[in-house]
Every structure is written in structure tokens, then in C-alpha cells.
């Protein structure tokens, strides 16, 4: 097959997610309403508590990271969720595609939507709360976004694996996993305040390191970006391997057929 044909297999999920999203009124909520609620509530809380400048950045970085993480991860999970809800999963898995085709296209669209949300929130937080997201230049912003998006893809893949393993009821993972990440990776507080067991878990999540790195621009301190990058690459690779395994298992158990009924 030509490279253009192969490329189109990668882009097919992005095409489907894009059309479904643009026809869905809830996209407006996902892109604008909830992100604004999240940002404004944290921003206004910092005013009420009279939090000083660098701590405002600390909290707003957390609010922005969580929001774009949720937007991007749900887009990755949508690659299976849309098929499962419309009972058309059979049509996808009878085609000559691999898990990486599906995940790549969905991730591409998730990254695009996540970037739009980041841009909106960054502008709004600058004007309303004086947060300059570009204080360390463009490169730290891109590195931070790359880390958040990598984590989002890992969560999205985990949701897909859950659906293929446990069936339709596992779609609850699409909304609950990011909540767990919120708790553990220090979105609104340093991981040092967590109980020791959760700190171990936090150190196993790449998002923790990318948050530390980006926050170090505003509140100078140590960071372990290389560890974050390594963990992100490791989880992405492992996630794709496990997803392939989950698809093969779903073919063996017949769950792919049941998800279409």
C-alpha cells in the first residue's frame, strides 16, 4: 500500500471525530464552557484567598493542565466510544487497521482540540489573572503541552483497553481516570503533601514531572524532565502493546461482536 493510503488509515479516526464533534452541541461545552468554569473558579479562589503571584501561576498551571488533559484524553477514548455507542465497532475492526492507526488519528484531533483550549485559557488567564504562560519562552510551553498530551493519550488508551476487556460498562473509565490523575499528580499542590503511598504513584506518572518542569519557570525549583519524558515514552509504547493485546483478546473472547449488538 502507498504511503498516502497508509496515512489515510491514520487520519480516518481524526476525520470521524472531527465531524462528530462539529455536529455536537456538547463540543461547545467541552471546548469553552467547562474549561472556563474550571479556570475562573480557581482564578477567583486565588483572589479570595489573596494568594500571591507565583502561587497563582502554580494553581493556574494545574487548572489549565487538568482541563486540556481531560479534553485530549476523551478525544482519544472517543475513537472506541463513538463506535461502541453507535454499535458500529464491528465495521472498524473488520477493516485492515491496527491499534496505532486508530490511536494516532484520535490523538491528533485530541491534541488539536487541547491546543485550542490551552490557547483560550492562556489568553483569558493572562488578562484576568495576570498569568503569563510564555514567561520562560515558547519551548517550555511546547514541552509542557507535549507532556500533558502524552499523558492524555495514555489515559485514552487505558480507557480503550478497559472497554475491550470489560465491555460497555467500562466507559465510566473515560471520565474517572482523569480524576485519579488530578488527585495523584499534584495538579493543585506539590506531590510532597500526598501520603507516602500516593507519592510513589505520583512519581510513576509522567504528568507529575511535566507539571514540576513548567512550574519551575514561575517558582524556581528542581525538576526531572528527562524522567517525565522517559515515562511518557514508556507508557505510550506499553499502552499500544497492551491495546493490541486487548484487541486480540477481544477477538478471542468475542467481546468485539457483543459490543456491536
Amino acid at each position: 500500500m502507498s504511503w498516502q493510503g497508509e496515512l489515510n488509515k491514520y487520519l480516518a479516526s481524526a476525520y470521524k471525530n472531527w465531524i462528530i464533534s462539529r455536529r455536537n452541541i456538547f463540543t461547545v461545552f467541552e471546548l469553552f464552557f467547562w474549561p472556563m468554569i474550571s479556570l475562573l473558579s480557581i482564578g477567583l479562589l486565588t483572589r479570595f484567598l489573596k494568594v500571591e503571584g507565583s502561587m497563582v501561576s502554580f494553581l493556574l498551571v494545574g487548572a489549565i493542565a487538568l482541563t486540556i488533559l481531560q479534553v485530549a484524553q476523551i478525544d482519544v477514548a472517543y475513537v472506541l466510544l463513538f463506535d461502541m455507542w453507535s454499535k458500529s465497532i464491528k465495521n472498524t475492526f473488520i477493516a485492515p487497521v491496527h491499534s496505532y492507526h486508530l490511536i494516532f488519528g484520535a490523538s491528533l484531533f485530541g491534541i488539536l482540540r487541547g491546543s485550542v483550549v490551552f490557547f483560550i485559557l492562556a489568553i483569558v488567564s493572562r488578562y484576568l489573572f495576570g498569568f503569563n504562560f510564555q514567561e520562560g519562552g515558547l519551548l517550555p510551553v511546547l514541552i509542557f503541552l507535549a507532556g500533558v498530551f502524552a499523558m492524555a493519550v495514555v489515559i485514552g488508551i487505558t480507557v480503550c483497553i478497559s472497554i475491550l476487556t470489560f465491555g460497555q460498562k467500562a466507559d465510566v473509565a473515560a471520565w474517572s481516570l482523569s480524576g485519579l490523575i488530578l488527585l495523584v499528580s499534584g495538579i493543585y499542590y506539590p506531590v510532597e503533601v500526598l501520603p507516602p503511598v500516593l507519592q510513589v504513584l505520583a512519581r510513576a506518572l509522567p504528568l507529575t514531572y511535566f507539571l514540576e518542569y513548567y512550574r519551575s519557570i514561575f517558582i524556581p525549583g528542581p525538576h526531572h524532565l528527562a524522567m517525565g519524558a522517559f515515562l511518557a515514552a514508556f507508557y505510550l509504547g506499553l499502552g499500544l502493546i497492551l491495546l493490541d493485546h486487548a484487541i486480540e483478546r477481544a477477538r478471542k473472547t468475542g467481546i468485539l461482536l457483543r459490543l456491536s449488538e
Partner: protein, 310 residues
Amino acid sequence: MTEKSVEAKGICKSYKSFFGTAARVLENISLDIETGEIFGLLGPNGSGKTTLISIFSTLIYPERGSLFILGMDARRDKGEIRKAVNISTAKPNFPWSLTVKENLRHYGMLYGLYGSALSRTVEDQIDAFELGEFRDMKFENLSTGLKQRLSLAKAMLNSPRLLFLDEPTTGLDPDMSIRTRMLIKRIHQEQNISVVLSTHDMPEAEMLCDRIAFLRKGQIVAMDTPRNLKKHLGLGERVVVSYEGLADIAALESLPGILGIKAKMGRVEIVMDRSADSLDRIIKLFCDARILDIVIKEPDLEDVFLELAR
């Protein structure tokens, strides 16, 4: 040696839950499907037709047995098989908010079509399945018949060598069912592809299929041409003669090709093998009687189905 479309030996399948409880769905299925053949899978609900089609299309895997599709090993060459086959499912479902054209485009992309070839193929299928008027209609707004046509159009996107049709006329009105069958016949003739069709509609199987396998409780209970199935099961032509006067009923039994006789006062029902050509000899036995009525009824697959489903 000519390549067969499907060569299955000893296919077994159980559905296992996460905790390991298994329900056996297919038991030791062995069959060969020739290239260019329309092969029917018949059986009552729950007999394993959809599971078998799903295994042949490599959507799901068998637990045991060997399977070759278009000469390729279904375990080793599944990627290549998926490029060469396609399926139209029972109760066709597609992403709801995509239009006819967008759905075809999306699945065309999954099959690696691109650029002008993708646009042309999508348009060709829209034309072939008379979907032009509905190209911009969302899937959720299509009628059952149109959804079925879209499903068939999707199944033809990759110009498959082997097409699986899982109950293609379920839920359609009689007119649309006939049109869909004609469409299937036309696709088969024009594109010379092999078709495996599951159905519990007997006229459909009789009209379309070269050979048929009857499934019951996950096992093949009979497999042959529709004509041979009727013949082997003793489901010959039924001749019902109503008469007045005397007839030599005992002599009927000695005629060649007579499969069964039920006689009561003034009425006799004879089941006979059509190939035995005994009709004129039957009528001669009524020469001393006055024939009031004579009805000749060919057996249909409905009779075969009822016989085998027992």
C-alpha cells in the same frame, strides 16, 4: 488446484466471560466454499450463523480448528485477508451523525483509499446503491432500507473478493427485500465475487444460494444445493388428489419415486420425487374414478427448514 474462498475444518467457538465461564456456540464446523459461489448459512436464531460469519471475516477468532480464507491462513495472514473481504452486518450500524457520504469516506480511509480514488469509489458506491438522493442525510435519519443499502455500499468499498452478508434483508419490507436480493445477485454476477450469506428467509436462500448449510445449535446438520437438500430429506413434490369413486391406492405404493402416501376417504396426498416422473402413472390409477381436484405443490426450503430445525 483452484483456490477455495473458505476452507474450514473443525471450527469450534465458545464465548467466555471475563471470569472464564464459557458458552459453546459452534461445534466442529467443517466446510469448503468454492470461488464464485453464493453460499447460504441457514438456521434458527441462536444457531451460530453470525458467529460463523464473524469468524470467517476474521473479526473474531475460533477456539479450535483450521481456517483458510481465499487460500490464506486466517491466523497468520489476517491482515491480508481483511484487505480482501468485507461484511454487511445484520442491523447495520454506523456512526449516527455522519452522513451517507461521510460514512463511506471514513470507511474508505480505513481501507487505505485516498485522493481521487477515494472520492471516485465513494461516488461509485453511492450511484451503485442508489443513495445519491440521500448522500447528505445523517445515518440516524435513514430508513431501515437505506441503512441496509449503505451497509452494502460500505461492504463494496474495497472491491472484496469475498463478501459476507449477515441477514441482509432483515427488517426490510417485501418490496425492499426483493430489490436487495436483486442487488446482491447483480453484485455477484457483475463483480464475480464469492458471497457467504446468512439468513432465515427461505425464499431468499432459494433464490440466491448455490449451496446451503443448515446450522442448528452450532452444528451443521445438512449441507448441499437447495434442490438436493429437498430431495435427500424426502421432501418431494406433494400431489393432492381429491376424487369420487374407486382408485387403486395400494398400487400407488409400488410406483417408483413415491416417498409417502396419506389417504382418507376421497382424498389422497402423495409425496413423490420429481425426478422419478411418476405423475402420469399416478393419474392412470384414478382412471375408474372422477378426479375433482388435483394440486401439485413443490417443496420449498421452508419445509426443509422445519424438518431440520426439529
